[in-house]
Assembly symmetry: C2
Homo-oligomer: 338 residues x 2
């Protein structure tokens, strides 16, 4: 597995796409992704931002794309993605881990879609105007507004992400959506029982929906930093058995260089004055260290190597590492045919 | 001139584009424009709106485009315009008569450009963050921010409109801009001495800049509702002599069905509690009645007829009625080559 060519974004000719990463602009992480052979990444650019705040963030990203156009390319369509790959640039898809930017206004789904927000999570760690998160005590399912938001996202070609979304809301979103949905970064609950991981029921409905699951190396949703590569690979193999090879991918959830202030904003937003630990806990409050086989996206080749050693065919390795996201993006970013 | 085919948007095969009209969505005005043979219109969709408010307005326009896609088409590129004409749809270019939507943020020029705002006036009737209007006592010219905004509009392909802009700011904007600029709706001051009309100096610099002037039938900037068609046509002919045939067009400034509340918002925004009369005056406060030869855009054929009677060639009539705007839009909407 030493055939990785530095700065070429190519591991053995494989398609490699990271389902979520890169919470802010910065070339350091871009270089790591390139070294890891990653050709495209879904960059999370918001958690609690309202419409106006999101405009400023998008403005910064536009500038970042403009200033680094030789190395990166914004992806809003399948054509963009293919062009980025051909030109040897890292494709970046902007997404938000909350519906906060649309506030209470249905028309803002299309507005932010036009600005390049192509993936939106229905809730972050709290109840939103559309539904409940996996950390709420009660999940009431999709709200009236939520049902319309799901259909509007379907219409404009913005991918629905359920990673942090609660069980009932997730099931109702899958039922309401007339297009496949994504869980960009979570694992099966029966393998790693973290609140954010997904039940057999949700994953079985996701499979019927032709949806996609990005398996996630974030220590709080696996067995902590001690999780071995072999364990992680075994989870991938077991999930392939359950979901089918076309529906399993990777979403590393490896945030960039986060300051404590940033982590506080992610977890507490403006909604609480008390400490909230997100996927962590009082006894384990910090963003945990990563397992040593995935210190960052430059380590993607380790996952490729692990999968190959299990005897997965090159085609199937390709599907998990990026081929499935590629197909999903190409289709999902299109405006819905009427 | 009775060859106008109803609902076909064609007068004798001429290109007809209205440089500014249509301040809000509504099918009534669309029908009038179609009857007048107008193939494309610059629709003014804001005066004082901040960034957040403009998102909601754009959301409404998106919905309007979606619901009436058989009849109208949003135009953000030359290709869109040509497609609209081919399909027999009315093309609509969104623009704002103020830089209020970008607030104090340079990056929002590109953001609103991506949302389809392709024309922006540097000031409405007041000093803005970029410069001064024709109604300010003192015009300090382009601000530091203003110079950057002009260049950023150049870069992204958003047309600079100077219609309500003061003399000094206009001259500095023309000097700063490295692309042709527009005055979408005003007349030569030496013919009609209204504050909003343009001096010989401004129009002479505009000509050197390869810019374009949309002559305007708004009663306050001609000789009131009594202005005859012949007078108006004479102004067009004289302006062609001064500017050259390639730089003269029409911007009717014929707002839709305005309520008093709307007129108050246009003139007073949030910046005053006292009545402000805009281009009117205390003795002539209301939006004046239109001259009887231009009650609305269905009367565009009258201007065509007037120009033809003066002996203007069909090619030249075409240039003034729409050909010049078409060329200007096709070029001006493009992103600037680096």
């Amino acid at each position: 597995m030493k055939k990785l060519m530095e700065d070429t974004l190519v591991i053995d000719g494989l398609e490699v796409i990271d389902g979520v990463n890169l919470n802010n602009e910065g070339m350091e992480r871009i270089e790591e992704l390139r070294k890891g052979g990653v050709q495209c990444v879904h960059a999370c650019c918001g958690f609690w931002d309202n419409a106006r705040e999101m405009l400023s963030k998008i403005g910064k990203w536009n500038r970042f794309f403009q200033e680094n156009g030789e190395i990166i390319k914004q992806v809003t369509t399948g054509e963009d993605l293919n062009q980025a790959i051909q030109e040897g640039k890292l494709g970046i898809v902007l997404g938000v881990q909350n519906i906060s930017p649309i506030e209470d206004e249905l028309a803002l789904v299309e507005v932010f879609n036009k600005l390049g927000i192509k993936i939106m999570q229905l809730t972050y760690n709290n109840q939103s105007l559309v539904g409940s998160s996996c950390y709420e005590e009660v999940d009431n399912g999709l709200s009236r507004f939520g049902k319309l938001v799901v259909k509007e996202m379907n219409r404009v070609g913005m991918i629905i992400d359920l990673s942090h979304v609660g069980e009932k809301t997730s099931l109702e979103a899958i039922q309401t959506s007339n297009r496949p949905v994504a869980i960009t970064h979570a694992n099966p609950y029966w393998i790693y029982p973290a609140k954010r991981n997904k039940s057999e029921k949700v994953l079985s409905e996701l499979r019927k929906n032709q949806g996609i699951l990005g398996l996630c190396a974030y220590p709080h949703v696996i067995n902590g930093p001690e999780t071995t590569l072999d364990e992680f690979i075994n989870m991938i193999m077991e999930t392939i058995d359950f979901m089918g090879i076309d529906h399993v991918a990777i979403g590393s959830d490896k945030g960039t260089n986060m300051s404590n202030e940033y982590l506080k904003w992610m977890r507490m937003g403006r909604w609480t004055h008390e400490m909230d630990y997100g996927a962590g806990s009082k006894s384990n409050p910090n963003r945990p260290p990563s397992p040593d086989w995935f210190k960052g996206p430059a380590d993607f080749p380790n996952i490729v190597e692990g999968l190959s050693k299990k005897g997965l065919s090159k085609n199937d390795v390709n599907a998990v590492m990026g081929g499935n996201w590629k197909r999903f993006y190409e289709e999902g970013f299109k405006k819905q045919k009427v």
